[in-house]
Amino acid sequence: MRPARIVAAAAVACGVGLAGSACASPDAAIDRTEGTGELRGLAIEQPFEAPEFALTDSRGRRFDFRPETAGSLTLLFFGYTNCPDICPVQMAVLGAALDDLSYPERREIEVVFVTTDPARDTPDRLRSWLDLFDASFVGLYGEMETVNEIQAGFRLPPARIEGTSPPPGAGEPYLVGHATPVVAVTGDGVARALYPSGVRQTDWRHDLPLLLRLNRSVSKPGGEAGPSGG
């Protein structure tokens, strides 16, 4: 799938209202023609430092994002387990694509899922849902405000409960509007590319080796590309 088609797919996702405002903000930072160039994902025109943050993982342990992911290619996604469409598809496509990698390559990649629905996504639910796709996926939760601040740090719009005012009561179903892209962060803590909904396994299969190569070049001491690099 070419970047133009991915952009079109993202636009469709926005159009049907499932992604809410998720697609507007990241677009501003995306260079569709330059940057890494070869990527089928959307290269971030000016790569930026990922924010420092700490949340709790699904096993109840503190997870400091930057130190925990240092050296790894991290694929970060904000979503929720009751999501009826985009989140399970993104996770399933990513999980299947990672299965194709060799063991050493797979070990270089960390997938981090941050819930945008902490009220319903208990640690157990988060763990069992992520296990459907890959038992190694890390699930994080925290206060909604904190999560939204983190998203702002990644230049993503905040998540919000859709169409309910006042907030829904206990047990009442609701949807959460949230950003749809997977953010690719290299081991030096720099966000490099976005993968909006519509990305297919064949796109990941194409891009993951390129991202891993980039990750290796920037993660080793004295690596070439900094935040402003490609």
Binding site: M1, A9, V12, V16, L18, P84, D85, P88, V89, A92, V93, A96, D100, L132, S197, G198, R200, Q201, T202, R205
Partner: protein, 261 residues
């Protein structure tokens, strides 16, 4: 509201949805049958056969099979294919009374279908349709719209009618298409259908964006769903075609026996 099942990208739920285009299509088929058989009253068995064909089409096109197959699961899409192209057409054709067909035989309106229904051309035409309508770009392009989805369903039905015509037509279309050759014709088709089966079952990646990126239904991954679709094509399609070949063989055996008495 949709009038024909197509991929919508909305989450699946088991609440019923109406598809008026499907009902209209089914009603038109029944009215056309009534008009066609005026003056050539069909037997009860012919009516039952035609009604069976219409019922199978209705099941394949309407909720839930039509909705699931058009936008959610490749495996159900394949079930639709079997129902529309391989199961319904022989019943529809076998439901046409011979007298009504004799009446229109040789008419100018039937010259193109008559040409396409020549066994070798029918075999190639049908299998070309099978391959074309399972091509990823074609499926993804057509399933996204109701008109495209309708076109795909009609291609299957039209191809199926042409494919089955030489085999089950009550009016012998080709007098020199003996029962033994009909068996070979059916078996040749199972061989030709191996191509899409192999691609679907042994592909490393999902072929169809429509189903890979569809909101999930159940726990099947896109790859598993695609492999299941390939197996359904192989086992389901093979069962239908081999069963038909078996029935023809039985008729052939009986006619040979009768001739030697």
């Amino acid at each position: 509201m949709q009038w024909w099942c197509a991929a919508q990208g909305i989450p699946w739920d088991w609440s019923w949805r109406p598809y008026p285009g499907v009902w209209l299509f089914v009603a038109c088929l029944c009215l056309a049958y009534r008009a066609f058989t005026r003056g050539a009253v069909p037997s009860r068995l012919e009516v039952v056969r035609f009604a069976g064909g219409v019922l199978i089409l209705w099941i394949a096109l309407d909720w839930p099979v039509g909705a699931l197959g058009s936008g959610y699961l490749a495996s159900v899409h394949m079930v639709q294919f079997l129902l529309i192209a391989l199961l319904a057409p022989p019943l529809l054709i076998a439901g046409l009374p011979r007298a009504a067909l004799e009446r229109v035989r040789g008419g100018r309106a039937l010259s193109l279908p008559g040409f396409l229904a020549r066994p070798l051309i029918a075999l190639l035409f049908f299998n070309a349709i099978v391959i074309a309508t399972h091509w990823p770009e074609v499926v993804d392009g057509l399933m996204a719209s109701q008109a495209g989805s309708l076109a795909l369903d009609m291609a299957w039905l039209g191809g199926g009618l042409i494919f089955w015509w030489p085999v089950v037509s009550p009016v012998p279309h080709r007098p020199r298409f003996p029962l033994g050759v009909r068996i070979c014709y059916l078996i040749a088709s199972t061989v030709l259908m191996t191509l899409p089966y192999v691609f679907l079952t042994f592909a490393e990646l999902p072929f169809y964006a429509t189903y890979e990126l569809a909101p999930p239904v159940g726990t099947l991954s896109a790859g598993e769903d695609q492999r299941l679709a390939g197996l359904i094509m192989r086992i389901g399609g093979g069962t239908i075609l081999w069963s038909a070949a078996g029935i023809i063989f039985w008729f052939w055996y009986r006619s040979e026996n009768d001739a030697t008495r």
